[in-house]
Amino acid sequence: MTEKTHLPATQPKNKALDWLDERTGWRMVRDLADHKVVPMHAGTAWYYFGGITLFLFGIQVITGVLLLLYYRPSVAEAFDSVRFIMTRVQFGWLIRSIHSWSANLLILAAFVHMFSVVFTHAYRRPRELTWLTGIALLGLMLGFGFSGYLLPWNQISYFATKVGTDVAASVPIAGPSVARFLRGGEDVGAATLTRFFAFHVMILPLITFGLVGLHLLLVQFHGMSTPSGISPSQLAHMKFFPNFFLRELVVWYGVLAVLGTLAAIFPWELGQKADPFASAPAGIRPEWYFLAQFYTLKLIPSHVWFFEGELLGLLGFGLLAAGWVALPFWAAGRNGEHRDRLVAGAGVFLICYLATFTILGYVK
C-alpha cells in the first residue's frame, strides 16, 4: 500500500489523507506545486498577467452562473430580466456590473499577457503550442464579449450586433452563410438572441475550459520562460508555492478592489430596450476591443482601385491575424536565428495601431 503513496518519509502520517492519496494520487499534485519555481528577473511582474486573466475568467464563470439564475433568453423577457436583476435581486446590480467590468478587464489583461509574451519572446520553441492555445483563448474571449453584449437586448447592443454581423456578411463566399448562421436568419432577432445565449453559456465555455486546461498544462510542462539571452541556470528562482502564489494573490486582491470600485461607482448601464423598428442610436460603435478595426473600416474608401473598400479592410485584418497567429514560426530563421527585432517591431506597430485607432474611434 505504501508503495503507491507519494508521501515523503519525513511527513507525519494522516490516515484520511493517506486513504485519499492511495485512491487519487493527489499528493503528486502537491509535489508538483512544491517543485514548481518561478524565475526572478526584471520582468517577473509580467508573469502575473496570465494569472490575472485566469482569475478574471474565474470571476466571469461565477458571476455568469449567478446571472443565469434570473436571466431569461427571449426577446420578450431578456431586457426585463436584466432590469429585474439590476433593481430587484439582492446584489444583482453588483453581480451584473462585476460580470460586465470583469469581461472588459479580462480582455485587457489577455492583451497585456499576449504582448508580454511577445516582448519577452516566450513564444519560442518549444512553446509554439502554448502561444497558439493562448491566441485561440484570446479569440474565444472576444467571442464571449461579442455574444454577451447582445444578451441584455438593449438598443445599443442590438444595433452593435447588427453592425457586427453585417461586417461578417461582407466577407466573400462564406460571409453571408456565416452571418445567417450567427443570426439564425436574415436579420438580428429572436433566433439571434437564443443562439448568442447558447454560444455564450455553453459552446464557448466548453471550448474555453478545454483550451485553458491545455494552455496551463503546456505552461506547466515547459515551465516559465526566461527572457532571451539569459540562461535559466544564471537566474535565481522563487518557489511557486507559496512565494509566487501569495504575491499573485496580492495582485488578485488588487484587481478585485479595482473591479469592486468600478462596479460600485460606475454600475454597468442597462440602456433602453431594443426596438428593431427604431432608427439606430447616433454614434453607434462596438465595444472598445473591436473599435480599432471598426474605425479602420470606416476610414477605408468605399472603393479602392477594383476592390470594395470594406472587403479590402477585412482581407487586411485576416492577413494580419494570420501573420500574428503564425508568429512563432516566422520569428525564427531557417538556421534557427532569432528575429527578435522584427518581432519587437511588429509588436510595437500593433500596439501603436490598436491604441491610436481605438482612441480615434472614441474621439471621432
Binding site: M86, P232, H237, N243, Y253, G254, G260, T261, I265
Partner: protein, 425 residues
C-alpha cells in the same frame, strides 16, 4: 417597297409634330419680361403630368405660326380675367372625369366650396381684389400641396394668407384687422408647426377652411377648436361657461367660446397664471375673493402642487441616474404622473373641482411613489459606496496580512531557490 417607306416617314413626321410645343419654343425665345411663364412652368405640377400651356389656354401648340397657334378657331382662350380664374381652373378641377386621369384621389369640390367662401362671394359680386386660385397656389409654377416649396404646403399656408391679410392697404376697404399673422407667430400652434416640424399643427386653413374660407362664427369657435382638442371640448360642453360664452346666457355676457380665455390667433402656452394672479383671465369676470375666484385659485394650487411634486421626483431620479442607479422603471412611472397632470389641466375645462381632484390625487400618488424610489436609489448609492469603502479596507488588510506572511516565510530562509527552473513533468 416604296409604300412602307412613305408610311414610315409620315409616322416620323407626325411623331415629331405631336411632341413639339410651339408655345414653349416661341415664348422661351422671347426677351426677358416677355418670356412669360416658360421659365416658371418647368416646376409646375401640370407639366409633370404631361400637360402643357395649350391644355389650359387652348390654341394649337403644334403650329409654328402664331396666328394659327393662338387663333380662336383653334380654341385659344388667352389670359383669363381675374374674375374668371376660379371657373377657368374648375374646368378641369371640378371635372371628376378629367381629374381621375391625373390625380384620382384629388377632391373636385374646390370650386363649389370657393363659391361659398367670403373670397368667392365677393368675387361673384365683382370684387377682383379678393383671393382667387392663383393668389394662393401661384400661377405657372403650381406645385403639389405636399411639395415643401408650395405656398400652400402646411409650413407656408400662414405666410401665404398673410401676404394679403397682413397688408394694411389691401385690407383697409374690408375693415378687418391685419395683426393675425403676427399674433399667430407667437402662438403654440406656430411653434409646433415651425420648431417641432409638426405638419398637423393648425394654421389659418385648419380653422377657417381653405377653399371655403370664412371666419368661424362665435357659436362654432368651440367646435372648430374641438376638431383637434376633442376632450377639452367635451368637458367645456359640460361646464357652466358653455352657455355663457356661446352668447346664449340670459346674463348677456356675449360669446367667444375658447377664445375668451385663450384668444384666437396668439394662443400661448396655458399656465395657472391664467387662473390666479394679476394676469388671470378669470379675474376679468370674477371679482377677487368671490366663490368662483376662490375655486380658480384652489384649482391652480392643485395643478401647481402636482407640477412641483412631479418636478421634485424628476430631479431626485435624475440625480440617482447620474450616479448610475437603475431608475428607469420609476422614470416610466413618472410619465403616468405627467399624464395625470395633463388630465388635471384638461379637467379644469369642466370647471368642476370634483372632476379635477381625481387626476390630481392619482398624480400625487405617482409623485410620492417615484420620489420614494429616487430617494431609495440615492440611499442605495450611499450604501454601495460605504460597502465599497469597507470592502477596500478589508482587501487592504488581507493584502497586508499576505505581505506579512510572505515576509515571515522569506525571512525563515524560504525566499528563493537556485538552480535550473522546473523542467518537463
Amino acid at each position: 417597297m416604296r409604300a412602307p417607306a412613305i408610311l414610315f416617314l409620315l409616322y416620323c413626321s407626325l411623331s415629331i409634330a405631336s411632341a413639339r410645343d410651339s408655345c414653349m419654343t416661341c415664348h422661351s425665345a422671347m426677351e426677358e419680361g416677355t418670356k412669360g411663364p416658360t421659365t416658371l412652368i418647368k416646376n409646375d405640377v401640370h407639366i409633370s403630368h404631361g400637360l402643357s400651356c395649350a391644355d389650359c389656354h387652348g390654341g394649337d401648340r403644334a403650329s409654328d405660326d402664331p396666328s394659327v397657334a393662338m387663333s380662336k378657331a383653334k380654341g385659344f382662350k388667352g389670359k383669363p380675367a381675374r374674375t374668371a380664374i376660379p371657373k377657368f381652373c374648375a374646368s378641369c378641377h371640378a371635372n371628376p372625369d378629367i381629374m381621375r386621369k391625373f390625380a384620382p384621389s384629388e377632391r373636385v369640390d374646390q370650386y363649389e366650396l370657393y363659391q361659398t367662401s367670403v373670397h368667392g362671394k365677393r368675387l361673384a359680386a365683382g370684387d377682383a381684389n379678393v383671393a382667387t386660385c392663383i393668389d394662393c397656389h401661384s400661377v405657372h409654377d403650381i406645385r403639389a400641396v405636399k411639395d415643401a416649396l408650395s405656398p400652400v404646403h402646411p409650413l407656408h399656408v400662414a405666410e401665404t394668407c398673410a401676404r394679403c391679410h397682413s397688408d394694411k392697404v389691401k385690407m383697409a376697404p374690408y375693415k378687418i384687422p391685419t395683426n393675425q399673422f403676427d399674433e399667430y407667430r407667437t402662438s403654440v400652434h406656430w411653434e409646433a408647426m415651425t420648431k417641432r416640424g409638426d405638419l398637423s399643427a393648425p394654421s389659418c386653413a385648419s380653422c377657417h377652411g381653405n377653399h371655403g374660407a370664412k371666419p368661424p362664427q362665435v357659436e362654432s369657435v368651440a367646435a372648430v377648436c374641438g376638431t383637434c382638442h376633442v376632450t377639452f371640448q367635451a368637458l367645456y360642453e359640460k361646464s357652466v361657461h358653455k352657455a355663457i360664452f356661446s352668447g346664449r346666457a340670459p346674463s348677456g355676457l356675449g360669446g367667444g367660446g375658447c377664445i375668451v380665455c385663450h384668444s384666437n390667433h396668439g394662443i400661448h402656452q396655458p399656465s395657472t397664471a391664467m387662473l390666479v394672479g394679476p394676469n388671470a383671465v378669470c379675474s376679468e369676470c370674477h371679482e377677487a375673493g368671490s366663490a368662483p375666484a376662490q375655486t380658480a385659485a384652489q384649482m391652480a394650487a392643485w395643478i401647481d402642487g402636482l407640477d412641483r411634486a412631479l418636478k421634485q421626483s424628476e430631479t431626485v431620479l435624475a440625480r440617482a441616474e447620474e450616479y448610475g442607479m437603475e431608475v428607469s422603471e420609476a422614470q416610466v412611472r413618472l410619465l403616468d404622473g405627467r399624464e395625470d397632470l395633463v388630465k388635471a389641466r384638461l379637467a379644469l375645462h369642466a370647471i368642476d373641482p370634483g372632476e379635477m381632484r381625481k387626476p390630481i390625487d392619482a398624480g400625487m400618488a405617482v409623485a410620492k411613489e417615484t420620489l420614494a424610489d429616487g430617494q431609495a436609489a440615492l440611499r442605495e448609492k450611499d450604501f454601495r459606496r460605504w460597502g465599497l469603502a469597507v470592502s477596500v479596507i478589508l482587501i487592504g488588510i488581507a493584502i497586508l496580512a499576505i505581505r506579512f506572511l510572505l515576509r515571515r516565510i522569506e525571512t525563515n530562509g524560504n525566499s528563493e531557490v537556485r538552480g535550473p527552473q522546473q523542467g518537463p513533468l
